[in-house]
Subunit: 186 residues, 2 copies
DNA sequence: ACCGTTTATGCAACTAGTTGCACAAGGTGG
DNA sequence: CCACCTTGTGCAACTAGTTGCATAAACGGT
C-alpha cells in the first residue's frame, strides 16, 4: 500500500493536479515507484474521500479543468505514521533472471539480443541519474532534506551500476557458450 | 506473466507435485520469483487445462493425495518461445526508498531502526547466497547449465551486496543528521 | 479408539496494478 | 467554422498476487 503515500509525499513537496503528479511520477518519484495517470486519479479520489487531502478551492471543478490538491494535517500524520512503521522487504521478482534460468534448460536462443538491449537501457538510465546528481547535488550541500534525497538517488545510481556490470559479465559469458541450443534436448 | 514460465522451468528441471514446487520456490527459484502455494496450485490447474503439462499417471488423483506433474512438448515450446521473446524491464517499486523520500518531508523518526533491521536481513540473505555458491559452484566447473545458473546466483549476491553497502551508508548518514523531526514542520 | 499434528490440495474473496477507452475544453490550421 | 490535436480527467474491465480459510489423508502418541 505505497501508492497513496507516494502521492502524499509528492503533494507535500508541492500541491499539484492529477496530470502534474503524473508527470512528476514519470520523472523523479517514478524512478522507484511508478504509477499511471489512472492509478493516480483513482487514488486522489480515495485520498480526498478519506479526508487526507483536499482540492485547492481556487479552481472550479469541471471535467477537463485543472484541479489541484493539497495535503491536510490528517494526511501528513498518516504519512508520518507510515514512514515510521516497520515493513518487511518484499521479495524481488525479476523476469530476466527467470529467463536466464529457463535458458539453462530450453536453450539460450534469442536471449543475447535482449540482454544487449537491457544493457543499453540501464546505461541510459545510469547516465540520466548521474546528470541529476551533478545538477542537483553539487558537492558542499548538506541540508537534511538534500542528504536524504541524495541517498535515494545514490541507490538508483548504484543499482543501475550493478545492472550494467552484471549484464556485461553475462554477455561476456554468453560469448564463450557453445550456441543457442538447449542443454537438455527434448 | 512469468509465474507459469517459472513453473514450467521448475518442472523441466524435475517433475514435482504442488507442494514440492512450493518448497522449491521457497528455496532457489523464489529468490527471484516468489510464489505462494495457492498461486502455484491455481497455475498448475491452468497449465494442465492448456495442455502444457500433465499429471503423472502413476499416482491416483484424490484430495490429500500427492499429484505430480511433468511438462509436455507444447509446454517446453511455450517456455522456449517466452525465453527468447524480448521483454521490457519493469520499473522497480521500492517502498523503503519511498519512505526515505517521505522522511525528507515528515521527519526521520522511527526509520533508522527499520533500516538496521533491513540491513540484518540483507546480510543474512547474502551469507546464504555465498554458502550456496561455495557448495554448488566450486571453481573449475563450466558446463553451460552451471554457467547460466551461476550467473543468476551472482546477480543475487551482487544485489544483496549493494543493499548491505547502501544501508550501511544510509545509517552512517543518519548518525550525522540532527534528529527525527520534520524538516518542514506542519 | 481418539486427538492433534503434518502433509497435501484447493476455493473464494480481496487488493493492487494495468489496459483500453471515453469525454470535455481549448487551441490551431485549412 | 470546423476538423483535428493536445491537455486534462475519469470509468470499467482485466490481470496478477495475497490472505484467509476449508478439506482430507496419514501418522504418532496416549
Amino acid at each position: 500500500m505505497s501508492l497513496p503515500h507516494a502521492i502524499l509525499t509528492a503533494l507535500l513537496e508541492k500541491p499539484s493536479s492529477g496530470l502534474e503528479l503524473t508527470r512528476r511520477f514519470d520523472r523523479s518519484i517514478g524512478y522507484f515507484w511508478s504509477a499511471t495517470h489512472q492509478q493516480i486519479y483513482r487514488e486522489l479520489g480515495k485520498l480526498e474521500a478519506d479526508g487526507l487531502i483536499r482540492a485547492l478551492p481556487s479552481e472550479q471543478p469541471a471535467r477537463g479543468q485543472k484541479k489541484s490538491y493539497e495535503v491536510l494535517p490528517a494526511g501528513r500524520a498518516e504519512l508520518a505514521r507510515w514512514t515510521a512503521a516497520s515493513q518487511d522487504p518484499k521479495p524481488h521478482r525479476d523476469p530476466l533472471l527467470l529467463r536466464l534460468r529457463a535458458a539453462a534448460v530450453v536453450g539460450t536462443a534469442g536471449l543475447e539480443a535482449d540482454l544487449r538491449r537491457h544493457l543499453e537501457l540501464h546505461e541510459r538510465q545510469l547516465a540520466e541519474y548521474q546528470e541529476i546528481e551533478q545538477r542537483d547535488f553539487p558537492p558542499g550541500r548538506d541540508g537534511t532534506e538534500d542528504r536524504l534525497r541524495h541517498l535515494v538517488l545514490r541507490a538508483g545510481i548504484d543499482l543501475e551500476t550493478f545492472w550494467t556490470q552484471w549484464l556485461r559479465r553475462a554477455l561476456a559469458d554468453f560469448a564463450e557458450l557453445p550456441a543457442g541450443e538447449p542443454t537438455r534436448p527434448a
